[in-house]
Symmetry: C2
Subunit: 423 residues, 2 copies
């Protein structure tokens, strides 16, 4: 099935906003085994919109149009859809009533120009938008089925997942359910994970499980897409593959599906009613900045300290004596973590200290990272060297600090060797 996507709107065409709706839609379709073949971006302009709709209608089996369903004069999708399909726009009383009750629930009177949002092509099938006033709809233009979706990301997301994708799957005739399982890992490169997972797809002999990756350094996402008659069938097939992936990637799996590394850490801390203090150098405080914005973090993240070097950090955290000179060691990080824990009264303290190379930024530029975690009865630490330029070292140090903490809280070894470190 040939699927196209048309993104509309002057803000997207002029680059005022980056078109993340497109990549979101393409990824979502890929996750269910469908693929976008062609993407078009046009502005709020009658002539180009009409041309784009007609071309896609001549070429594709299904077209998703994004944007142009709003109440203002430059929202043209319904009007041009009707023109391209050769039908009239008519007032849809059902959607008008929906909008009026939408405003009523918010104790507001519907402004007159919103009525425009209920003017739909006469042949349109309504596609529900439970969280906004832009009415989704589907109709045929040329040989293709067109699906019109709102530009507001959260409205698009809900409509695509709940309404458009099931219709696309039905139209594709696959008569199958797709289930997606995701594993997030840190410390193994894509080709390493690929070779570790050789043959896992063959655990389901009918070829209905597909393995894929998405790398966003320092994390890697491993995706299993499985096709089945229904959700139970898909999950049944996935079971043994999922188990095998967990076994082979082991401690490197830091989260699954919608989970995040920082979310997993926060959940572990919340479970124990524990608090956390963090001391960082060089990272610009990005470890605390990852944990801080999560819901509930304000109770758990007790203190974050950022210092420009070990000397300043030593004075800020306050262990006895002068800051140590010479090479940065695990023991120094341990002293900082233990002192920080005592000083703040936090249940756990994480210290991430970095000794940077001298000189200008370059691809061989590196740093030694000493990480320590102090807890109730136990202290853990590791020392690693990462190279690849300042920003790469910074990103790597933040992820390593967080992942060591995750491992510590889950009772896993924090010193397991990773692919990104040099010795």
């Amino acid at each position: 099935m040939l699927i196209e996507v048309i993104c509309t709107g002057d803000e997207v065409l002029t680059g005022k906003i980056v078109n993340s709706n497109f990549s979101y839609m393409a990824q979502k379709l890929e996750d269910v085994g469908l693929a976008v073949r062609w993407g078009t971006t046009v502005g709020d302009d009658r002539e180009t919109l009409l041309a784009a709709f007609k071309e896609a209608g001549a070429r594709a089996d299904a077209v998703i149009v994004n944007g142009g369903l709003g109440p203002t004069v430059d929202d043209l999708s319904q009007e041009i859809a009707a023109q391209a399909a050769g039908v009239e726009c008519v007032l849809n009383e059902e959607w008008l009533a929906r909008m009026e009750s939408f405003f009523l629930r918010r104790s507001r009177v519907m402004p007159p120009n919103n009525k425009k949002q209920a003017m739909l092509p006469s042949t349109a099938e309504i596609i529900d938008n439970p969280i906004g006033t832009a009415c989704g709809f589907a109709l045929d233009i040329g040989r293709a089925r067109f699906f019109f979706t709102p530009g507001v990301p959260r409205e698009l997301k809900r409509m695509l997942e709940e309404q458009v994708i099931p219709r696309l799957l039905a139209k594709s005739g696959l008569q199958t359910t797709i289930h997606l399982k995701r594993f997030h890992s840190y410390g193994l490169g894509e080709s390493h994970v690929d070779s570790l997972l050789t043959g896992v797809e063959d655990l389901v002999p009918d070829g209905s499980v597909k393995l894929g990756f998405r790398a966003h350094y320092p994390q890697l996402e491993t995706k299993l897409t499985v096709r089945g008659r229904d959700l139970d069938d898909a999950r049944g097939k996935l079971g043994p593959v999922e188990k095998e992936v967990r076994k082979r990637l082991g401690n490197f799996i830091l989260a699954e599906d919608e989970q995040t590394l920082e979310g997993v850490i926060l959940a572990e801390l919340a479970k124990r009613e524990a608090t956390l203090a963090i001391a960082e150098t060089f990272t610009s405080g990005q470890i605390a900045a990852r944990v801080g914005p999560l819901p509930g973090a304000e109770k758990i993240l007790r203190r974050g300290i950022l210092a420009r070097d070990l000397g300043d950090l030593w004075r800020a955290v306050g262990p006895p004596g002068d800051p140590p000179r010479g090479e940065l060691t695990r023991e120094i990080a341990e002293v900082v973590a233990m002192t920080l824990r005592r000083a703040t009264g936090a249940t756990y303290a994480l210290a991430v200290l970095i000794d940077l190379d001298e000189g200008a930024d370059r691809i061989e530029f590196g740093g030694s990272i000493c990480t320590a975690i102090a807890g109730v009865n136990e202290i853990a630490s590791r020392r690693s060297r990462i190279v690849g330029g300042r920003e790469w070292v910074r990103l790597g140090a933040v992820e390593m600090g967080l992942d060591c903490l995750r491992r510590y809280l889950q009772g896993l070894p924090v010193t397991e060797r990773i692919d990104f470190e040099k010795t």
Copy 2:
């Protein structure tokens, strides 16, 4: 002149990467008075690439193609460009020699598959890429001039600005130079700035100055595009308008052109050989995270402290006595800033404290922000209330803290009322 952009590559088409090259190109063209009329995204696939090139060649005057110039088998731009133009690909000895010396300078032998990058359509005009092995080129397909550019963002950037845009301007026949002047402000909304600047364009009666905005909360970018015979003429016309904008927006202008708020602050501090310490609550340490990654910041940003509430911050910074109870005040922020300055030995200390509303996140959710800056002889502070949901308050507090510091360092009043605060 009708300009189209074609972005190629499976990574973009499948949404694996968000297409920020497109928005970058569209913005750059707009900045020089040109506009993109149509955008197309296709994968690394012969059939769709050929169709996309032919359609654009029939429709547009100029087409920018991005991507597909690399050395691997799925890089198809040269091959399909030749096919669409009805010519052969031939080895370009000049570019081959360029590539060989490129590798030689890096003490590496050129891998054989890179030779493919010197296979260009026989009618191609070479467009220089001084920082990579992908050769840019231009040729005619249909009625349009096509410009082929590399997918690597920094190579694209350089080639677009230095090579492609001058050719497009020449082709457009405008025979003019475009100069862009940008002002960054914080604290005034877009419509407010629009009304403050009413009539500034008319200071140049021939209509060659155009005013535009780009809002990215909490900052606003005001853009003046001026058209002239040459750069001197353009700058001459811009002069009085620029002066008037500076006069009307006054203290609210925090940076110009490529400058950033955090960069301006760091430059002010570097000029005085001063250091900075920052204490924050609720912001997840995002004030320090803005300043920290800049070149040279590791010498200047002496300490960052993040605490979950005033009590914890009080204990971390260490003023005498118990943490104050009751309403958060400017005076409390001043005590924190002064104590922090003394404790760290920093030249300046910034304290940003927030008293959040109770209850769940919602659009009316707000917070009171108390900001104080302690310096050598003088302390400054302000109290503001911002509403709009947790994330909005967080963004607003970070920007307000940084902008107060900028104002303080520049000798401007830190208490000037802004549009985003409620009373």
